[in-house]
């Protein structure tokens, strides 16, 4: 099969919505198959990247983001959503590898992917 790129828009918070779990499993499986994964964190989706989330053994969000980033996933977080929620606009509150950018970068992902998936609330 051809290697392709999956674009993802994640709109919801971790712990609260199952989307974060499903996103992780889908992204992991896609990366294992050699696909690229490019993720834009938008609205409450930016909360997924917050550092120091308690390592719930079932849902260690920080480790999962790190694992996906190490496997090549690209993460961008909406800057306005980030500052509105009180997080550092340089990304200091986020897992390394998550870049705080803007909607132009979402548009870039849209132009660089073969398939696009939105995790709605």
């Amino acid at each position: 099969m051809n290697k392709k790129t999956l674009g993802v828009l994640l709109l919801t918070s971790p712990y609260t919505y199952q989307n974060s779990e499903t996103f992780y499993e889908i992204a992991k499986a896609a990366l294992e198959k050699g696909h690229e994964v490019k993720v834009f964190l938008f609205v409450d989706g930016v909360n997924n990247a917050k550092l120091n989330q308690e390592p719930d053994p079932e849902r260690p969000m920080n480790e999962r983001f790190q694992e996906l980033a190490d496997a090549g996933a690209v993460f961008q977080a909406c800057g306005l959503c980030t500052t509105a929620r009180g997080f550092d606009q340089e990304g200091a509150d986020y897992t390394p590898g998550v870049e705080v950018t803007g909607l132009t970068e979402l548009a870039e992902i849209v132009g660089e992917c073969d398939r696009f998936l939105t995790f709605v609330p």
Partner: protein, 116 residues
């Protein structure tokens, strides 16, 4: 893959005000022009409640003006309008009403779909 300029469908299904997803869909649609995509907004289901002329459009006014200044298409499902008992003259200016074929074409012609 290489970057490609695309036609992009912004599918708006959420109600306005109660949660911000509807308004953020407007913002995302404008963002598509930043990379020269051709976005189209399509309001379906409860999303049709957000293009009523009488709505306070302050939260999205700038996005709407920008979107229309780039000649972005704002479309709505005829069936969803009817299901919500909304007549086309209750809608904001510049909205195209799409029948079944039009909805089908929207999903065929736009390569990427973002949902709010």
């Amino acid at each position: 893959m290489e970057f490609t300029e695309r036609s992009v469908l912004l599918l708006i299904r959420s109600k306005p005000f109660g949660a911000i997803f509807n308004f953020e869909g407007w913002r995302a649609s404008v963002g598509m022009f930043g990379m020269d995509h051709e976005p189209m907004m399509l309001f379906m289901g409860d999303g049709v409640l957000s293009i009523l002329k009488g709505m306070n459009d302050l939260p999205i006014r700038m996005f709407k003006m920008t979107f229309q200044s780039f000649d972005g298409r704002i479309c709505v499902s005829k069936k969803s309008l009817e299901a919500h008992n909304i007549s086309p003259d209750e809608l904001i200016e510049g909205v195209e009403v799409l029948d079944e074929a039009g909805i089908g074409q929207a999903f065929v012609e736009n390569e990427i779909v973002l949902t709010f």
